[in-house]
């Protein structure tokens, strides 16, 4: 049979983000897949070297548009560690609530992309609607729908407004009320199982070899979660579980995402109940003349897609000497995707890509 070269993306209805995969196909089977990133490369880390510590906050969150908050968090943590700033306890709780809300929003976005890919228009529209309800909360809190710049070195920018806790609870209840609908139409749908079971299967050993993290690893049975391993914010203050599945295929990954969303919602309720009173902000020195002592730090958080790390080097000046983000989509999109696409069918390209939760701007930075 004739071998065809097929470009999947960047202009493609099944492609989420500006990313491209070059496929060599024989009939319906893929012989070779080559990830082709770089459509979104802006040289973030170079730009950060030209901006002061505080000026970097607005650009750091733009590395990942789907969940910008974990980016802010990791940068704030890096700066705090280098400068030795303490964070008040209430701010820790608020950060956790905020990050978990962002995780719910991000997973709903992933659910949109995934169900849209499979042709589940209806569920996709519902998920997008519910994500918008979460964005409304952000809008009330910080004024922006997508980019928040809320987490700040030394705490968060402002306290929760009056009655905001109730609003969070109300919104999450209205989303949670639709979980049975989602289950009936999507997660327990026989065709969904048929489409995803055994697709893009990766064993735990292989996943370890290839540097996987996040859902990809948790779907193979390992509860590897930075929130448990190296707790930051207030994640060690409440009880919660790491959901896992055993099979390592697309079905497991999506079910892990579903369970994680539900776990996050429960965690938010617990955090809101235990939230202490107090200040939310420790003053930092005058940001215009802020110099951070010489040193280096590596901090990591669990973003909605996996381990997100930041290697930050300061040479004692008012700007970072070097910042390098370890983004979870990087190994997922560049190595694991290529491996899993080999011998898959064309119908499953988007299926596998979105089940790995590859977010293109994160890879390119």
């Amino acid at each position: 049979m004739r071998e065809l070269e097929l470009y999947f993306g960047p202009q493609h209805l099944g492609m989420v983000g500006n990313f491209s995969i070059t496929l060599k196909v024989e009939g319906d089977r893929i012989v070779e897949a080559i990830s082709n990133p770089g459509y979104l490369h802006r040289g973030f880390e170079k730009l950060m070297e030209y901006r002061t510590w505080i000026q970097n906050f607005p650009i750091v969150c733009r590395i990942n548009v789907v969940e910008p908050d974990s980016m802010e968090m990791v940068y704030a943590m890096g700066v705090e560690k280098l400068a030795g700033i303490e964070v008040p306890e209430r701010a820790q709780y608020i950060r956790s609530v905020f990050l978990e809300l962002a995780r719910v929003g991000s997973h709903l976005f992933g659910l949109w992309a995934y169900s849209n890919m499979l042709g589940f228009d209806t569920v996709a529209q519902w998920a997008m609607y519910h994500r918008d309800l979460v964005l409304d909360l952000f809008e009330e809190l910080v004024g922006g729908r997508v980019y928040h710049i809320y987490i700040w070195p030394g705490g968060v920018r402002r306290d929760f407004p009056k009655g905001f806790k109730d609003k969070i609870v109300k919104t999450l209840h209205s989303i949670g009320g639709c979980v049975p609908d989602y289950n009936n139409t999507f997660f327990e749908n026989r065709l969904f199982f048929e489409r995803t079971n055994g697709i893009g299967k990766i064993s735990q050993k292989e996943a370890r070899e290839l540097g996987a993290a996040g859902q990809v690893l948790r779907a193979t049975g390992m509860p590897y979660d930075i929130r448990k391993i190296e707790p930051y914010a207030a994640y060690d203050k409440v009880e919660w579980d790491v959901p896992t599945r055993q099979d390592g295929d697309a079905y497991s990954r999506i079910m892990v995402i579903r369970d994680e969303m539900i776990e996050s919602v429960h965690m938010i309720f617990k955090l809101l109940d235990n939230m202490p009173e107090g200040s939310v902000y420790n003053r930092v020195p005058n940001p215009l003349k802020w110099k951070i002592p010489k040193g280096e730090s590596y901090v990591r958080v669990e973003s909605s897609r996996g381990e997100l790390g930041l290697y930050l080097v300061s040479n004692g000046g008012d700007k970072p000497h070097r910042a390098h983000f370890r983004t979870p989509s990087y190994p997922h999109g560049l190595i694991i995707l290529e491996k899993l696409l080999k011998n898959a069918s064309i119908a499953d390209v988007g299926n596998i890509m979105i089940s790995l939760y590859v977010v293109a701007p994160e890879i390119d930075r």
Partner: protein
């Protein structure tokens, strides 16, 4: 909205058809794409006004350039733009295609999109709200009505200069010119 005025439909069917059937190329050029799914799904529902994501650039007549354009993306944008059948309309979404926005000093983003392809309208902001897309669409309606959305004609007439700029940014263009280019030696 004059969608239900039969008289206008009989007078200029092409204009009205283009106004109320804007199919957008689904191309996630930058972070602005994050606001497009809410717009086409149930919260804002752009399909009410006939705005729809098209599966292929051949079907489309609206090109939303959502966010910063890196050099590599510019190549894909030009390719996609040239694939679209005429008439076609381009809208730049967000601050970054206007003048570079936040990435004004990045070595890998082109700053002014209208140096490389014609743009009919801009939506400012980072990130513009979904409502801004609707405002842009209504402005585009006015432009189509008055015959001012002529980016594609401008592209045809000034193709040589556009191609020269594209070559400057991309180095070398692998595809043949869309419109005949005069050879300077002749």
């Amino acid at each position: 909205m004059d969608r239900n005025q039969v008289k206008k439909w009989l007078e200029s069917p092409a204009k009205m058809g283009h106004k109320y059937s804007l199919w957008a190329v689904y191309f996630c050029t930058g972070c602005g794409i994050i606001e497009v799914p809410p717009v086409i799904t149930s919260r804002w529902d752009a399909e009410r006004f006939g705005v729809l994501p098209a599966p292929s650039p051949r079907h489309a007549n609206l090109f939303l350039i959502t966010g910063y354009v890196s050099v590599k993306t510019l190549k894909a944008i030009i390719n996609t733009y040239e694939l679209m059948p005429e008439p076609k309309y381009t809208v730049g979404f967000g601050s970054c295609p206007i003048n570079g926005g936040m990435y004004w000093d990045s070595y890998n983003t082109i700053k002014h999109l209208d140096k490389y392809i014609p743009v009919d309208g801009w939506i400012a902001g980072c990130m513009p709200r979904p409502e801004a897309i609707f405002i842009a669409v209504t402005h585009l309606w006015t432009l189509i009505d008055k015959g001012m959305a002529k980016g594609y004609i401008k592209y045809r007439e000034n193709y040589e200069r556009y191609r020269e700029n594209q070559e400057k940014a991309l180095g070398r263009l692998e595809w043949p010119p869309l419109f005949p280019v005069k050879d300077e030696n002749e």
